[in-house]
Every structure is written in C-alpha cells, then in structure tokens.
C-alpha cells in the first residue's frame, strides 16, 4: 500500500516535504508531476493577482502575469525538484525590502500614467519633452503651457542633455507639472499575498499525488 503526505513548514512554503509510505519505483516521475502542479498553482495565483485593477487606476503593466510567465519547473531528480520564478523583481515582494538607485543618484517614481514603465529619458523622447528640476523640489517636472515671454520673473531650472546638466530659464507663469518624484530610496513592504497559502498548496499537492497514484495504478491494471 502506498500513501503520500505533504508537509509544509508553518508560515512558509519555501520548503515542501512530501513523505511517501511504501515502495515507489518512479520517484523522479512523482517529483516532476508535483513540481509541475506547484508551478501551475503559483501561475494561477499570480494571474488572479494580475486581474486586480491598478491601485492608481492606470493601465496595468501586468507585473503579476510576467511572474506567471516566468514560473516553471527548473530541475527534477529522484530526491526532489526545483520550481523557479525566473524574475528578479519577485523576491522583494515576498520578503519586503528597500530599493536604492544603482546608476543614478535618485530613484524616479512615476507620478502620471504616461510615465509609468518608462525611464525618464524614454519619457522625454517619447513625448518630446524636456524634464527639469527646480531647486528645493524633489521631482522631475515638465512644462505644460507657455508662460510670459518677458524675462522678468524667469526661474532658472536644471535639465539634462546627454551627460551635461544645463541651466535654462523658465518663463514666468509657465504651467508645469511633476512627472516623476525623485527619492533616494523606496521601501517595498512584504506582500503577505505574494504566494498562495500553505493550505492551498498542500491541498493541491495531495490531490496531485492521489491523481498520480490513480494514473500509475490504472497503467498497471
């Protein structure tokens, strides 16, 4: 008689132990099938999260679907299997953490929908806009309306052109809007719902193990 039980450490599904009672010849086959089911459960979970609307009401960037696409069985052996989410940005949603700029001095956080998903240079090119900073304001702005042609009341702003920084005058009464917030770091809280619950995984794997046994026994019959 063969029986299977699935154990998951409390509060974590990073390690799943499947205990087998009885003689099973094809352990690798079972590991493969269980890993595949786990990958399916993760993909379904990510896609459900992806279906939720963007918090700011903007067009979605489908981050969670990208995670689903990057989820797959990576390796299988007699002793276990590895399922991977081949996407660097996932980890921080599981564990939480602080993001700091790597190349630039500041992180750019989009403040308008059109800037979402674009680096500042790409936004400037796409909309043919010059982005600039104003002393004392931690944001990248763009001009949205022409101001007075008078030199009286001009404000000097700073803009990048290639690797150079230019100081350019901004006419008085020009209308401007912030496009990106500039921040030295951003804290991403751990998402308690980044992964499916341990109970759900356990139920799915037990069902899969039972189905695998059923299919194996029906092949033998």
């Amino acid at each position: 008689m063969i029986s299977i039980s699935v154990k998951i450490e409390p509060n974590s599904i990073k390690q799943i132990t499947v205990e087998l009672q009885g003689k099973i010849d094809d352990r690798k086959g079972l590991n493969k099938v269980l890993a595949s089911r786990l990958a399916d459960e993760l993909q379904d979970h990510f896609r459900r999260k992806n279906a939720k609307p963007n918090k700011r009401g903007w067009a979605k960037k489908n981050f969670w679907n990208q995670l689903a696409n990057a989820t797959a069985v990576s390796s299988v052996s007699d002793s276990g299997a590895v399922v991977t989410v081949a996407e660097e940005r996932f980890r921080i949603h599981v564990t939480g953490g602080v993001i700091t700029p790597k190349k630039a001095k500041m992180l750019t956080i989009p403040l308008i929908e059109a800037a979402n998903g674009l680096m500042a240079s790409s936004y400037a090119q796409k909309f043919n806009r010059r982005l600039f900073t104003i002393p004392g304001r931690n944001a990248l702005f763009e001009r949205t309306g022409q101001g007075s042609e008078s030199v009286i009341g001009q404000t000097n702003v700073r803009a990048r052109q290639g690797k150079r920084t230019l100081t350019i005058p901004l006419a008085a009464r020009s209308t401007i809007r912030p496009v990106y917030a500039l921040v030295p770091r951003a804290t991403i809280p751990a998402d308690p719902d980044a992964l499916p619950s341990a109970e759900k995984i356990q139920t799915a794997l037990l069902e899969e193990a039972a189905d695998w046994l059923d299919a194996t026994l029906s092949d033998l019959a």
Binding site: S74, V85, A86, E88, V94, L118, D211, W212, A215
Partner: protein
C-alpha cells in the same frame, strides 16, 4: 524544494533565444510573417531593421534578462535588465549608431527607437522564449499524463479584444464545460490536448506556444488529468499522448518576391543549405535527426563546423599536392600559400550553401586545380572546367547549368554580378570596392559590389574566411575599414 530567494533562469528559454541569429531584413511585418516558421524561430529580426548590429544589441540585452545576469557597474553596484532599461539603453544605442527615424513616422511603431516599438520587441521576444521553454517542459511523457490538456485563457486585459472563440472554432477547436469569465458568450472553454495541432493553427506565428498574436493578451493554463477527465477531454482508457520532439515542421515555402539580392544573401549567410530558394520561394530544409548528438547544434554552429572540417581537409590535400607534384603543375604563388585561404574558404562556403558559386580563371592550371578541389569537396558539389575557368556549385541550390554559369561569369562583358549580386559587373552604378585583409593587413580577397549592398556581401565573404580559417578578417569598403 522551492526557493524564492534565488531565481533560476529557464534554460530552454536561454537556449531558444541565444541560438537565434541576428538577421537584418528590409521585410515588413506582414512579409516576415509569411516566412517559414522554422526560419522565423531561428532568426532574431524585427521588421525593416537591416542593421544586424542593432539586432545583436537587442538580442544581447533580452538574453541578459532571460539569463538573469547581473551587470556589474563601475561603482560596485549591480543591475539587472528590465523593460524600461532596455528601452532607454536601446534608444541611446540607436542614437549612437546614427539611426534617425523618418520624421513622418517618428514616435510610432515604424520608428525603431520609439518606446512603443522597443517595448513590443522586448515583450514579444521574451514571451516567445518563455513560451517555448514551457512548451518543451510540457512535452514530457509524465507531464503529458499528469496535465494532458491546456486551456486558452485571457491572461492580460485588453481594451479591444479579438474574438478568440470564433478563431478557435474556425480552426476546428472544441469547447468544454461552461464558458469562462473571459468570453461568457462562448459555447464553453477553449481546451485541447497539448499535442493537438489546434495550437499551431490558431497562432499567427505558426508556433504551438504563446504569444499567438501581436499583443493578444492570451495565454495557456494547464488542465490537469482530473479536470480533463471530468470535462470529457480525455477518457480513462485513452492512449497516452506521445511527446512532440520537433515542433516546427511546416514544410512550407513562402514567397519572397521582390526581395533584393542583398536580403537573399543575408538569408544564405545565416542559414546556408538549411534553406532553399526556388525562384521567388524560400523554404526551410534542415531536419536534424534527434538521435544524432549534433542535432542540438544551432544552424550557425553546424555551418561553421562543416566549413572548418572541409577547409582543414583541403589544406592537408594542398600541402600534399605541393610536396608530391612537380612545381610546374601549379600556378605561381601556389607554393607561397597566396591563394590557399581564398580557395578553401570560398569552396567550403559553397559546400555548406552559404555561397552560390566558386569561380576563378586558372587558365592552363584549371584542370589540376579542379581535380584538387574535387578531392576535398563533398559529392553534392559539382566541379567543372570550361575554357580555363574553374567552377564549383551545388546543383540543388543553384539550378543554372555550366553553359549558363560560364556565360554569366566569363562571357564578355563579364556579367557575374547578374548571378551573385556582386562580382565584376561594372554596369552597376554606384559600386563599391570591397577588400578583405588579414589581421596583419595582407589582402585576402576582393570584389566589387553595388554600393548599397556592399556591406552585406563583404560580411558574408568575411564569414567564409572566419569559418574556414578560424582567424580574424578586416573589411574595407572603398578603402575605409568597417566593423565586421
């Protein structure tokens, strides 16, 4: 065990994307879609992008993402590639390479430097690599049993949705169970076995994995055995599905009418005898034997290996001929190896289908040269002499007979430019002078070509040398060195 702190690259996705050859082409999207799927899946291209350096830069960055490579910065930090960075870096790269969009098309999808076009390239290439990796994983006998079917579902919302149930039904697809939330008016859910040809039939790109169309937002969900039994997709006593080993075997040809000589040369350069041009039709011919340990070779690796083997064999035969025969049997310069690399690289390129014709005038030495060449070339290469001119060509790839070849190559005035697209056809204006030189600056090969296509032919012939000798070669066009 699952460990979410160390993401592992999808090896099949890396392999699929990494094996693609950057292939510049003037073809538009609709024309590219008509190419045989076997060619499309083995080439990295983008509509109307002819500069292969641009394509190589795109491929390198997307591969960096698939491999999850962290790039080390000078400040000690490390970064990974993502969509936003890809767009920004490629915009810089295109600017550096002198790309200027047509002012009337700037910012739109026909502008390669636009965020929309670059984002689309990123999305499609990444999705195709991941789609292939999952398809390959699913074609496993244990997994075909555990999850025998898959469902076509909406994975990303779209403002305008194609009517996929209509496409599905038109392609012969069946519906099972109650309709899902994506298409509540459909007769049921769009489910089929994983080995069912429906998956290729619904794809605009001819592949059985997603994406199935440009920006479709559709994807696949596994249907496990239990659910497949409940829905009636399978029965308990059904025979097991056999994994598909070769997904792409369309056997179809596609019209390339109007394709300029330089574009045909690019295809030949990249695919050699894996493709055939039959008039205005191109088809893919290479069907590797899965039992052959070399079947995992990419087309490029295979061409390079075969050319090197032929050239190495030829080099040995030339050395023997020089040492065994009377010096008067060979032309002046033969003993100093002046012509050796040119003959070996040209004939090896003909043998693997990357070059259409070897032709040279050897006058009184022609018979000896032809006999020697015959010794190292495979049987499928024809070698012939006419009036002191030596020819070598593959009759399955170049259907012209010897009379025609001789007339086109050695007639007066010489017209071999008509046949190959380059050579000594002085009637083509403007033309450019191409010179290939070894690393030490000594000349290796030279010809004239129509100026707009000179770079394409120069790079193809440079590849002949690199494949045959393993040595670097420098390219000069009208005296100016260009990047290989």
């Amino acid at each position: 065990m699952i460990d979410f702190t160390t993401p592992i690259p999808l090896e099949d996705a890396v392999q699929s994307l990494g094996a693609k050859t950057p292939l510049g082409s003037a073809l538009r999207s609709a024309e590219l879609e008509r190419l045989p799927v076997e060619i499309r899946e083995r080439a990295f291209f983008s509509a109307t992008v002819e500069n292969e350096r641009i394509l190589a830069e795109m491929q390198r960055r997307i591969l960096q993402r698939v491999q999850l490579v962290r790039e080390q910065l000078a400040n000690g930090e490390s970064v990974t590639m993502d969509r936003g960075r890809f767009i920004a870096e490629m915009q810089d790269e295109l600017d550096r390479l002198g790309y200027r969009p047509d002012p009337e098309k700037a910012g739109g999808l026909q502008d390669v430097s636009s965020a929309g076009r670059l984002g689309l390239i990123w999305d499609m290439q990444l999705a195709q690599a991941q789609g292939y990796a999952k398809w390959k994983t699913g074609q496993d006998k244990d997994l075909l049993k555990a999850a025998p079917a898959q469902e076509l579902i909406r994975v990303e919302s779209r403002r305008e949705r194609r009517l996929w149930p209509t496409i599905w039904a038109a392609a012969g697809g069946k519906f099972y169970g109650e309709p899902g939330p994506d298409y509540p008016g459909a007769p049921g859910r769009m489910i089929a076995l994983k080995t069912d040809p429906i998956w290729t039939a619904i794809s605009r790109f001819g592949t059985p994995w997603p994406p199935f169309d440009w920006g479709s937002g559709m994807g696949l969900r596994n249907v496990r055995r239990r659910e497949a039994l409940e829905l009636g997709v399978i029965k308990r006593d059904d025979k097991a599905q056999q994994p598909l080993s070769t997904p792409l075997n369309s056997g179809l040809g596609a019209s390339v009418k109007g394709l300029p000589d330089s574009s045909r040369e690019r295809f030949r350069d990249a695919f050699g005898d894996a493709i055939r041009f039959d008039g205005d039709t191109i088809s893919y011919e290479r069907q590797p034997d899965p039992s052959d340990e070399r079947s995992q070779e990419t087309v490029r690796e295979s061409l390079q290996r075969r050319a090197r083997e032929i050239a190495d064999d030829g080099r040995g035969r030339i050395v023997r001929a020089r040492s065994e025969d009377d010096a008067s049997a060979w032309p002046s310069g033969f003993e100093t190896r002046e012509f050796e690399d040119e003959i070996l690289s040209s004939t090896a390129a003909v043998a693997v289908g990357r070059k259409q014709l070897y032709h040279d005038e050897w006058a009184g030495f022609a018979e000896n040269i032809a006999r020697l060449i015959r010794e190292w070339l495979p049987d499928e290469v024809a070698v012939a002499v006419r009036d002191g001119h030596v020819y070598a060509w593959r009759e399955d790839l170049l259907t012209a007979g010897l009379d025609e070849l001789h007339e086109l190559s050695a007639g007066y005035p010489p017209r071999n430019g008509k046949l190959l697209g380059y050579g000594q056809d002085f009637g083509v204006e403007p033309y450019a002078v191409v010179s290939l030189r070894r690393a030490d600056g000594t000349p290796a090969y030279g010809f004239q070509a129509p100026a707009p296509a000179a770079s394409t032919f120069a790079k193809a012939r440079a590849r002949d040398f690199i494949d045959a000798t393993g040595e670097a070669i420098r390219i000069f066009i009208d005296g100016k060195e260009v990047t290989p």
